[in-house]
Symmetry: D2
Subunit: 98 residues, 4 copies
Amino acid sequence: MAGMESEHPGYLEDKADLTKRLRRIAGQVNGVERMVDEERYCIDILTQISAIRSALDRVAIAVLDDHARHCVVAASEGKRDERTTEMMDAVARLLKSR
Amino acid sequence: MAGMESEHPGYLEDKADLTKRLRRIAGQVNGVERMVDEERYCIDILTQISAIRSALDRVAIAVLDDHARHCVVAASEGKRDERTTEMMDAVARLLKSR
Amino acid sequence: MAGMESEHPGYLEDKADLTKRLRRIAGQVNGVERMVDEERYCIDILTQISAIRSALDRVAIAVLDDHARHCVVAASEGKRDERTTEMMDAVARLLKSR
Amino acid sequence: MAGMESEHPGYLEDKADLTKRLRRIAGQVNGVERMVDEERYCIDILTQISAIRSALDRVAIAVLDDHARHCVVAASEGKRDERTTEMMDAVARLLKSR
């Protein structure tokens, strides 16, 4: 057995909240698809896309926060280094620096 | 009549392509919701969110490109200034600088 | 002669302001270098780097705004398409989407 | 005494490298200031600003990586929670989500 930290991802407590936020984001993307279909003004579409990006970033930060607390800090000593590397790679991808 | 440029948004030619891309993005967001529900590993979820953000950014750039070509450049002289301001505000929001 | 628009970049009116802002940003970067040298706390360094990025983004948007107004909109008809493409490529690079 | 982890920031090993990178970035910012002064083409200036932002992001990620390894993971148990919060706030600021 690899220990408790490897069996459950860190976001379990927030699972219902994350699911709700992602469902709302999917709805916003569908809304943008409808806006394009109805030939709405470009700028209104861009405003909506910016809002979706911000909502996605907040979800990413929530998942990353849970990861830091549960998968990195709470990992067995032997796993911490590897998980920190994974976490930093994920941050770099979010910043589009890798 | 304000001229052709004010009656049709600029992305009309790309409408089918944009709609298809947005539908795929909505599907990716649903996929992330499922990943959370299935308690998949945080890092895999973050990788998927980064991919969605990049896909959204590409849609935003496509809409902005059409806006620049059709709504700004092709606008009547009296409207160009206002539309350029709108466009730059949209860019600033995408860069989260406003 | 290619016309007035090709002889002067768009930001001439803002030149003094842009120069001043860039000098301040260079000073902030030097400040971060000093913070590292003095072994200041990581988080304070990151806060300062975030401030520099925001200041740089505002300069980028000012240059882009001038470009849109002077080099794209004011270009001769034959040049507008090429300059719009250049502008959108610059936006994509700022969004790290290209 | 709060323990070794609170006396030295995490980036000490990389100090010379970080200092060198920041010096180069300051030089690039000075270069952009000169480009504006010499009235160089907007797009060339924007390309240079994008390069500076990417270089800054890589420095931020290096500092964050060191922070994660030395200040969070290596902290005494009582400090880890607080330092993880600080780290996530720093990430959120880099993503301009806070």
